[in-house]
Symmetry: C2
Subunit: 234 residues, 2 copies
Protein backbone atom coordinates (compact mmCIF):
# COMPACT_ATOMS: atom_id res chain seq x y z
CA UNK A 1 0.00 0.00 0.00
CA UNK A 2 1.45 3.34 -0.99
CA UNK A 3 1.81 6.24 1.41
CA UNK A 4 1.83 8.66 -1.53
CA UNK A 5 -1.44 10.03 -2.85
CA UNK A 6 -2.41 9.95 -6.55
CA UNK A 7 -3.09 13.69 -6.39
CA UNK A 8 0.69 14.11 -6.30
CA UNK A 9 1.03 13.06 -9.94
CA UNK A 10 -2.48 12.90 -11.42
CA UNK A 11 -2.21 16.34 -13.07
CA UNK A 12 1.04 15.56 -14.92
CA UNK A 13 0.99 15.15 -18.69
CA UNK A 14 3.08 11.99 -18.53
CA UNK A 15 0.33 10.30 -16.51
CA UNK A 16 -2.61 11.51 -18.57
CA UNK A 17 -5.07 8.70 -19.32
CA UNK A 18 -4.04 6.71 -16.20
CA UNK A 19 -6.72 6.09 -13.55
CA UNK A 20 -6.15 6.28 -9.80
CA UNK A 21 -5.52 2.53 -9.47
CA UNK A 22 -2.74 2.76 -12.04
CA UNK A 23 -1.34 5.84 -10.32
CA UNK A 24 -1.36 4.03 -6.93
CA UNK A 25 0.44 1.05 -8.45
CA UNK A 26 3.07 3.42 -9.83
CA UNK A 27 3.46 5.32 -6.57
CA UNK A 28 3.74 2.14 -4.48
CA UNK A 29 7.40 1.79 -5.46
CA UNK A 30 8.30 5.48 -5.34
CA UNK A 31 10.15 7.39 -2.65
CA UNK A 32 10.28 11.19 -2.36
CA UNK A 33 13.63 12.93 -2.73
CA UNK A 34 14.57 16.50 -1.79
CA UNK A 35 17.46 17.95 -3.80
CA UNK A 36 19.01 21.09 -2.23
CA UNK A 37 20.04 23.86 -4.62
CA UNK A 38 23.44 23.25 -6.18
CA UNK A 39 23.58 19.54 -5.37
CA UNK A 40 23.33 16.63 -7.81
CA UNK A 41 20.30 14.36 -8.09
CA UNK A 42 22.48 11.97 -10.10
CA UNK A 43 25.93 12.14 -11.60
CA UNK A 44 27.35 11.29 -15.00
CA UNK A 45 28.88 7.82 -15.04
CA UNK A 46 27.37 6.69 -11.72
CA UNK A 47 25.39 3.46 -11.68
CA UNK A 48 21.80 4.24 -12.61
CA UNK A 49 20.04 2.59 -9.65
CA UNK A 50 17.06 4.95 -9.85
CA UNK A 51 15.05 7.09 -12.24
CA UNK A 52 13.20 10.26 -11.27
CA UNK A 53 10.11 12.34 -11.79
CA UNK A 54 10.47 16.02 -10.88
CA UNK A 55 7.54 17.36 -8.84
CA UNK A 56 8.84 20.81 -7.96
CA UNK A 57 11.85 23.01 -8.69
CA UNK A 58 14.25 23.07 -11.64
CA UNK A 59 17.26 20.93 -12.49
CA UNK A 60 20.01 21.47 -15.03
CA UNK A 61 21.16 18.45 -17.00
CA UNK A 62 24.82 18.96 -17.87
CA UNK A 63 27.55 17.00 -19.60
CA UNK A 64 31.23 17.47 -18.81
CA UNK A 65 33.43 17.09 -21.89
CA UNK A 66 36.73 15.15 -21.74
CA UNK A 67 38.44 18.57 -21.59
CA UNK A 68 36.44 19.51 -18.50
CA UNK A 69 34.09 21.96 -20.23
CA UNK A 70 30.49 21.92 -19.04
CA UNK A 71 27.64 21.87 -21.58
CA UNK A 72 24.08 22.53 -20.46
CA UNK A 73 21.85 19.98 -22.16
CA UNK A 74 18.50 21.16 -20.81
CA UNK A 75 16.50 22.28 -17.82
CA UNK A 76 14.14 19.72 -16.26
CA UNK A 77 10.83 21.15 -15.09
CA UNK A 78 8.10 19.68 -12.87
CA UNK A 79 6.26 16.85 -14.60
CA UNK A 80 9.32 15.62 -16.47
CA UNK A 81 11.16 12.35 -15.91
CA UNK A 82 14.93 12.16 -15.92
CA UNK A 83 17.74 9.75 -15.18
CA UNK A 84 15.92 7.23 -17.42
CA UNK A 85 19.10 5.31 -18.25
CA UNK A 86 17.21 2.04 -17.80
CA UNK A 87 14.61 2.95 -20.44
CA UNK A 88 17.33 3.42 -23.02
CA UNK A 89 19.29 0.30 -22.09
CA UNK A 90 22.11 1.95 -20.15
CA UNK A 91 23.51 1.04 -16.71
CA UNK A 92 25.06 4.42 -15.92
CA UNK A 93 23.72 7.97 -16.09
CA UNK A 94 24.74 9.67 -19.34
CA UNK A 95 24.75 13.14 -17.72
CA UNK A 96 24.59 14.97 -14.39
CA UNK A 97 21.42 16.60 -12.99
CA UNK A 98 22.05 19.61 -10.72
CA UNK A 99 19.33 21.43 -8.79
CA UNK A 100 19.20 25.01 -10.14
CA UNK A 101 16.78 25.72 -7.33
CA UNK A 102 15.70 23.47 -4.45
CA UNK A 103 13.79 20.61 -6.05
CA UNK A 104 11.53 17.76 -5.09
CA UNK A 105 11.38 14.50 -7.03
CA UNK A 106 10.04 10.98 -6.80
CA UNK A 107 12.60 8.21 -7.23
CA UNK A 108 11.95 4.66 -8.43
CA UNK A 109 14.41 1.75 -8.50
CA UNK A 110 15.49 1.37 -12.14
CA UNK A 111 14.58 -2.32 -11.99
CA UNK A 112 10.94 -1.26 -11.57
CA UNK A 113 10.73 0.40 -15.00
CA UNK A 114 9.55 -2.65 -17.00
CA UNK A 115 7.02 -3.51 -14.27
CA UNK A 116 5.69 0.04 -14.18
CA UNK A 117 5.26 -0.04 -17.95
CA UNK A 118 3.29 -3.27 -17.64
CA UNK A 119 1.08 -1.85 -14.89
CA UNK A 120 0.55 1.35 -16.83
CA UNK A 121 1.14 0.86 -20.58
CA UNK A 122 0.37 4.53 -21.23
CA UNK A 123 3.48 5.39 -19.21
CA UNK A 124 5.80 3.91 -21.84
CA UNK A 125 3.95 5.71 -24.66
CA UNK A 126 4.06 8.99 -22.75
CA UNK A 127 7.73 8.55 -21.91
CA UNK A 128 8.42 7.90 -25.58
CA UNK A 129 6.64 11.12 -26.56
CA UNK A 130 8.77 12.97 -24.02
CA UNK A 131 11.90 11.40 -25.52
CA UNK A 132 10.73 12.32 -28.99
CA UNK A 133 10.17 15.93 -28.03
CA UNK A 134 13.63 16.11 -26.47
CA UNK A 135 15.06 14.58 -29.60
CA UNK A 136 13.37 17.21 -31.79
CA UNK A 137 14.65 19.91 -29.46
CA UNK A 138 18.17 18.46 -29.61
CA UNK A 139 18.02 18.41 -33.42
CA UNK A 140 16.92 22.04 -33.46
CA UNK A 141 19.88 22.94 -31.28
CA UNK A 142 22.22 21.01 -33.59
CA UNK A 143 20.83 22.98 -36.54
CA UNK A 144 21.21 26.25 -34.62
CA UNK A 145 24.76 25.49 -33.50
CA UNK A 146 25.64 24.44 -37.05
CA UNK A 147 24.24 27.40 -38.93
CA UNK A 148 23.31 30.35 -36.72
CA UNK A 149 25.23 33.30 -35.44
CA UNK A 150 25.63 33.43 -31.69
CA UNK A 151 23.04 36.20 -31.16
CA UNK A 152 20.32 34.11 -32.80
CA UNK A 153 21.33 31.05 -30.80
CA UNK A 154 21.01 32.95 -27.53
CA UNK A 155 17.60 34.31 -28.58
CA UNK A 156 16.43 30.84 -29.57
CA UNK A 157 17.67 29.40 -26.25
CA UNK A 158 15.71 32.08 -24.36
CA UNK A 159 12.57 31.56 -26.45
CA UNK A 160 12.80 27.78 -26.02
CA UNK A 161 13.15 28.16 -22.24
CA UNK A 162 10.17 30.51 -22.25
CA UNK A 163 8.14 27.99 -24.23
CA UNK A 164 9.04 25.11 -21.92
CA UNK A 165 8.98 26.76 -18.56
CA UNK A 166 7.85 30.37 -18.90
CA UNK A 167 4.71 31.95 -17.48
CA UNK A 168 2.73 34.63 -19.31
CA UNK A 169 2.59 37.75 -17.17
CA UNK A 170 1.24 41.23 -17.85
CA UNK A 171 4.51 42.62 -19.17
CA UNK A 172 5.88 39.60 -21.02
CA UNK A 173 6.93 36.00 -20.39
CA UNK A 174 8.58 35.24 -17.08
CA UNK A 175 11.23 32.56 -16.55
CA UNK A 176 11.05 32.43 -12.76
CA UNK A 177 14.12 30.42 -11.87
CA UNK A 178 17.81 31.28 -11.97
CA UNK A 179 19.15 31.12 -15.54
CA UNK A 180 22.62 32.58 -15.39
CA UNK A 181 24.57 34.07 -18.27
CA UNK A 182 27.00 31.21 -17.79
CA UNK A 183 24.07 28.78 -18.27
CA UNK A 184 23.16 30.54 -21.50
CA UNK A 185 26.79 30.38 -22.64
CA UNK A 186 26.82 26.62 -21.97
CA UNK A 187 23.54 26.21 -23.87
CA UNK A 188 24.70 28.06 -26.96
CA UNK A 189 28.34 27.10 -27.37
CA UNK A 190 29.77 30.51 -26.65
CA UNK A 191 31.53 32.42 -23.88
CA UNK A 192 30.18 34.17 -20.81
CA UNK A 193 31.66 37.39 -22.21
CA UNK A 194 29.70 37.13 -25.46
CA UNK A 195 26.41 36.29 -23.73
CA UNK A 196 26.89 39.20 -21.32
CA UNK A 197 27.50 41.61 -24.19
CA UNK A 198 24.37 40.42 -26.06
CA UNK A 199 22.15 40.44 -22.97
CA UNK A 200 23.32 43.93 -22.01
CA UNK A 201 22.28 45.27 -25.40
CA UNK A 202 18.87 43.57 -25.11
CA UNK A 203 18.41 44.88 -21.56
CA UNK A 204 19.31 48.41 -22.64
CA UNK A 205 16.75 48.25 -25.45
CA UNK A 206 14.01 46.93 -23.16
CA UNK A 207 13.72 43.47 -24.72
CA UNK A 208 14.57 41.63 -21.50
CA UNK A 209 14.79 42.35 -17.79
CA UNK A 210 17.32 40.31 -15.85
CA UNK A 211 17.61 39.39 -12.22
CA UNK A 212 19.43 36.82 -10.11
CA UNK A 213 16.41 34.56 -9.71
CA UNK A 214 14.32 35.45 -12.73
CA UNK A 215 14.40 36.58 -16.30
CA UNK A 216 11.61 38.49 -18.03
CA UNK A 217 11.22 38.43 -21.82
CA UNK A 218 9.39 41.75 -22.25
CA UNK A 219 8.68 41.25 -25.93
CA UNK A 220 9.38 37.71 -27.20
CA UNK A 221 8.34 38.64 -30.74
CA UNK A 222 10.73 41.60 -30.93
CA UNK A 223 13.44 39.42 -29.40
CA UNK A 224 13.02 36.95 -32.25
CA UNK A 225 13.05 39.74 -34.82
CA UNK A 226 16.13 41.29 -33.22
CA UNK A 227 17.82 37.92 -33.25
CA UNK A 228 16.99 37.32 -36.91
CA UNK A 229 18.73 40.56 -37.79
CA UNK A 230 22.47 40.52 -38.04
CA UNK A 231 23.27 43.98 -36.71
CA UNK A 232 25.34 42.86 -33.72
CA UNK A 233 26.07 39.31 -34.88
CA UNK A 234 29.23 37.57 -33.80
CA UNK B 1 -2.60 -13.14 -43.67
CA UNK B 2 0.68 -11.44 -44.47
CA UNK B 3 2.59 -11.98 -47.70
CA UNK B 4 5.82 -10.94 -45.99
CA UNK B 5 7.92 -13.54 -44.22
CA UNK B 6 9.21 -13.13 -40.63
CA UNK B 7 12.73 -13.86 -41.86
CA UNK B 8 12.67 -10.35 -43.34
CA UNK B 9 12.84 -8.72 -39.92
CA UNK B 10 13.57 -11.50 -37.39
CA UNK B 11 17.31 -10.70 -37.24
CA UNK B 12 16.82 -6.99 -36.45
CA UNK B 13 17.70 -5.70 -32.98
CA UNK B 14 14.44 -3.79 -32.71
CA UNK B 15 12.49 -7.04 -32.97
CA UNK B 16 14.65 -9.08 -30.62
CA UNK B 17 12.56 -11.09 -28.15
CA UNK B 18 9.56 -11.22 -30.51
CA UNK B 19 8.41 -14.64 -31.72
CA UNK B 20 7.27 -15.45 -35.26
CA UNK B 21 3.59 -14.95 -34.44
CA UNK B 22 4.32 -11.45 -33.19
CA UNK B 23 6.46 -10.76 -36.25
CA UNK B 24 3.66 -11.97 -38.57
CA UNK B 25 1.17 -9.71 -36.80
CA UNK B 26 3.54 -6.79 -37.32
CA UNK B 27 4.20 -7.60 -40.97
CA UNK B 28 0.49 -8.05 -41.76
CA UNK B 29 0.06 -4.28 -42.00
CA UNK B 30 3.38 -3.50 -43.71
CA UNK B 31 4.04 -2.74 -47.34
CA UNK B 32 7.49 -2.75 -48.97
CA UNK B 33 8.83 0.51 -50.38
CA UNK B 34 11.77 1.02 -52.78
CA UNK B 35 13.45 4.43 -52.50
CA UNK B 36 15.69 5.30 -55.47
CA UNK B 37 18.96 7.08 -54.72
CA UNK B 38 18.51 10.83 -54.26
CA UNK B 39 14.75 10.71 -53.70
CA UNK B 40 12.87 11.36 -50.47
CA UNK B 41 11.19 8.63 -48.42
CA UNK B 42 9.36 11.39 -46.55
CA UNK B 43 9.59 15.17 -46.45
CA UNK B 44 9.77 17.71 -43.66
CA UNK B 45 6.33 19.18 -42.92
CA UNK B 46 4.36 16.59 -44.91
CA UNK B 47 1.55 14.75 -43.14
CA UNK B 48 3.02 11.72 -41.43
CA UNK B 49 0.72 9.04 -42.84
CA UNK B 50 3.35 6.30 -42.50
CA UNK B 51 6.36 5.25 -40.50
CA UNK B 52 9.21 3.16 -41.84
CA UNK B 53 11.71 0.43 -41.08
CA UNK B 54 14.80 0.43 -43.28
CA UNK B 55 15.73 -3.05 -44.57
CA UNK B 56 18.52 -2.18 -46.98
CA UNK B 57 20.46 0.89 -48.13
CA UNK B 58 21.22 4.16 -46.36
CA UNK B 59 19.14 7.29 -45.88
CA UNK B 60 20.16 10.76 -44.76
CA UNK B 61 17.85 12.56 -42.36
CA UNK B 62 18.19 16.29 -42.99
CA UNK B 63 16.62 19.47 -41.69
CA UNK B 64 16.35 22.62 -43.76
CA UNK B 65 16.75 25.77 -41.67
CA UNK B 66 14.50 28.83 -42.21
CA UNK B 67 17.45 30.34 -44.11
CA UNK B 68 17.55 27.38 -46.47
CA UNK B 69 20.68 25.78 -45.05
CA UNK B 70 20.68 21.99 -44.88
CA UNK B 71 21.81 20.23 -41.70
CA UNK B 72 22.46 16.49 -41.74
CA UNK B 73 20.91 15.02 -38.59
CA UNK B 74 21.95 11.40 -39.07
CA UNK B 75 22.25 8.47 -41.42
CA UNK B 76 19.62 5.74 -41.10
CA UNK B 77 20.95 2.22 -41.53
CA UNK B 78 19.17 -1.11 -42.04
CA UNK B 79 17.31 -2.21 -38.92
CA UNK B 80 16.42 1.34 -37.87
CA UNK B 81 12.96 2.88 -37.82
CA UNK B 82 12.34 6.41 -39.01
CA UNK B 83 9.51 8.81 -39.74
CA UNK B 84 8.10 7.91 -36.31
CA UNK B 85 6.21 11.18 -35.94
CA UNK B 86 3.22 9.27 -34.57
CA UNK B 87 5.24 7.76 -31.71
CA UNK B 88 6.23 11.21 -30.52
CA UNK B 89 2.76 12.72 -30.90
CA UNK B 90 3.31 14.68 -34.10
CA UNK B 91 1.17 14.79 -37.28
CA UNK B 92 3.90 15.93 -39.66
CA UNK B 93 7.43 14.71 -40.32
CA UNK B 94 9.98 16.81 -38.42
CA UNK B 95 12.70 16.22 -41.04
CA UNK B 96 13.32 14.88 -44.55
CA UNK B 97 14.76 11.41 -45.29
CA UNK B 98 16.75 11.17 -48.55
CA UNK B 99 18.13 7.93 -49.97
CA UNK B 100 21.95 8.25 -50.02
CA UNK B 101 21.96 4.98 -51.92
CA UNK B 102 19.04 2.96 -53.28
CA UNK B 103 17.12 1.77 -50.23
CA UNK B 104 14.40 -0.67 -49.31
CA UNK B 105 12.01 -0.08 -46.42
CA UNK B 106 8.79 -1.39 -44.93
CA UNK B 107 6.04 1.18 -44.44
CA UNK B 108 3.19 1.02 -41.93
CA UNK B 109 0.21 3.36 -41.66
CA UNK B 110 0.92 5.66 -38.70
CA UNK B 111 -2.48 4.79 -37.25
CA UNK B 112 -1.18 1.22 -36.78
CA UNK B 113 1.52 2.25 -34.31
CA UNK B 114 -0.53 1.85 -31.09
CA UNK B 115 -1.94 -1.46 -32.32
CA UNK B 116 1.51 -2.77 -33.21
CA UNK B 117 2.75 -1.84 -29.74
CA UNK B 118 -0.16 -3.78 -28.22
CA UNK B 119 0.53 -6.82 -30.41
CA UNK B 120 4.21 -6.67 -29.66
CA UNK B 121 4.92 -4.80 -26.40
CA UNK B 122 8.66 -5.30 -26.84
CA UNK B 123 8.42 -3.12 -29.94
CA UNK B 124 7.67 0.00 -27.91
CA UNK B 125 10.49 -0.75 -25.46
CA UNK B 126 12.91 -1.36 -28.30
CA UNK B 127 11.80 1.78 -30.11
CA UNK B 128 12.32 3.75 -26.91
CA UNK B 129 15.86 2.39 -26.59
CA UNK B 130 16.50 3.49 -30.17
CA UNK B 131 15.16 6.95 -29.35
CA UNK B 132 17.32 7.09 -26.23
CA UNK B 133 20.43 6.19 -28.18
CA UNK B 134 19.66 8.89 -30.76
CA UNK B 135 19.12 11.35 -27.94
CA UNK B 136 22.50 10.51 -26.39
CA UNK B 137 24.10 10.86 -29.80
CA UNK B 138 22.39 14.22 -30.34
CA UNK B 139 23.62 15.43 -26.94
CA UNK B 140 27.16 14.37 -27.81
CA UNK B 141 26.92 16.39 -31.03
CA UNK B 142 25.62 19.40 -29.10
CA UNK B 143 28.60 19.13 -26.75
CA UNK B 144 30.98 18.78 -29.71
CA UNK B 145 29.46 21.71 -31.60
CA UNK B 146 29.58 23.80 -28.41
CA UNK B 147 33.14 23.12 -27.35
CA UNK B 148 35.25 21.45 -30.01
CA UNK B 149 37.38 22.76 -32.81
CA UNK B 150 36.21 21.80 -36.27
CA UNK B 151 38.92 19.18 -36.82
CA UNK B 152 37.81 17.24 -33.76
CA UNK B 153 34.17 17.51 -34.77
CA UNK B 154 34.92 16.02 -38.20
CA UNK B 155 36.95 13.21 -36.61
CA UNK B 156 34.15 12.48 -34.15
CA UNK B 157 31.56 12.48 -36.94
CA UNK B 158 33.66 9.95 -38.89
CA UNK B 159 34.23 7.76 -35.83
CA UNK B 160 30.51 7.86 -34.95
CA UNK B 161 29.59 6.85 -38.51
CA UNK B 162 32.15 4.04 -38.32
CA UNK B 163 30.69 2.87 -35.01
CA UNK B 164 27.13 2.93 -36.32
CA UNK B 165 27.57 1.65 -39.81
CA UNK B 166 31.18 0.67 -40.40
CA UNK B 167 32.55 -2.79 -41.15
CA UNK B 168 35.89 -4.02 -39.83
CA UNK B 169 38.10 -4.95 -42.74
CA UNK B 170 41.73 -6.02 -42.91
CA UNK B 171 43.12 -2.52 -43.35
CA UNK B 172 40.75 -0.53 -41.12
CA UNK B 173 37.06 0.27 -40.77
CA UNK B 174 35.05 0.65 -43.96
CA UNK B 175 32.07 2.98 -44.38
CA UNK B 176 30.72 1.47 -47.58
CA UNK B 177 28.18 4.06 -48.67
CA UNK B 178 28.57 7.54 -50.12
CA UNK B 179 29.45 10.06 -47.40
CA UNK B 180 30.36 13.24 -49.20
CA UNK B 181 32.49 16.06 -47.87
CA UNK B 182 29.36 18.20 -48.10
CA UNK B 183 27.59 15.65 -45.85
CA UNK B 184 30.41 15.93 -43.33
CA UNK B 185 30.22 19.73 -43.48
CA UNK B 186 26.48 19.56 -42.77
CA UNK B 187 27.10 17.16 -39.87
CA UNK B 188 29.72 19.33 -38.21
CA UNK B 189 28.55 22.88 -38.74
CA UNK B 190 31.33 23.93 -41.03
CA UNK B 191 31.99 24.58 -44.72
CA UNK B 192 32.78 22.21 -47.56
CA UNK B 193 36.10 24.06 -47.96
CA UNK B 194 37.16 23.37 -44.36
CA UNK B 195 36.17 19.69 -44.49
CA UNK B 196 38.05 19.25 -47.77
CA UNK B 197 41.19 20.80 -46.30
CA UNK B 198 41.05 18.55 -43.20
CA UNK B 199 40.29 15.38 -45.17
CA UNK B 200 43.13 16.09 -47.62
CA UNK B 201 45.62 16.32 -44.75
CA UNK B 202 44.34 13.05 -43.30
CA UNK B 203 44.44 11.34 -46.70
CA UNK B 204 48.00 12.52 -47.28
CA UNK B 205 49.06 11.14 -43.90
CA UNK B 206 47.38 7.77 -44.53
CA UNK B 207 44.69 8.08 -41.87
CA UNK B 208 41.82 7.75 -44.33
CA UNK B 209 41.24 6.64 -47.90
CA UNK B 210 38.41 8.34 -49.76
CA UNK B 211 36.27 7.33 -52.67
CA UNK B 212 32.98 8.32 -54.23
CA UNK B 213 31.06 5.38 -52.79
CA UNK B 214 33.13 4.49 -49.75
CA UNK B 215 35.39 5.82 -47.06
CA UNK B 216 38.06 3.79 -45.28
CA UNK B 217 39.30 4.78 -41.83
CA UNK B 218 42.75 3.17 -41.99
CA UNK B 219 43.58 3.83 -38.35
CA UNK B 220 40.61 4.98 -36.25
CA UNK B 221 42.76 5.25 -33.12
CA UNK B 222 45.32 7.51 -34.79
CA UNK B 223 42.48 9.52 -36.28
CA UNK B 224 41.16 10.15 -32.78
CA UNK B 225 44.61 11.07 -31.52
CA UNK B 226 45.17 13.39 -34.48
CA UNK B 227 41.80 14.98 -33.82
CA UNK B 228 42.54 15.50 -30.15
CA UNK B 229 45.68 17.43 -31.12
CA UNK B 230 45.29 21.06 -32.07
CA UNK B 231 48.00 21.35 -34.70
CA UNK B 232 45.71 22.20 -37.60
CA UNK B 233 42.67 23.30 -35.62
CA UNK B 234 40.35 25.88 -37.05
Amino acid sequence: MSRLDPSLIRHLAIFQSLDDDALRAILAEASPRRVPKGTAMFEHGAEAHEFFLVLDGRLKVVKITPDGEQVLIRFVIPGEVCGMAVAIGKNTYPATALAATESLALAWPSAQWPKLCEKAPALAANAMQAFGQRLQEAHSRIAELSTEEVQRRVAHALLRLAGQAGTKVENGVLIDFPVTRQDLAEMTGTTLHTVSRIMSVWEASGLIEGGRQRLLLCDPHKLLVAAEGRASGD
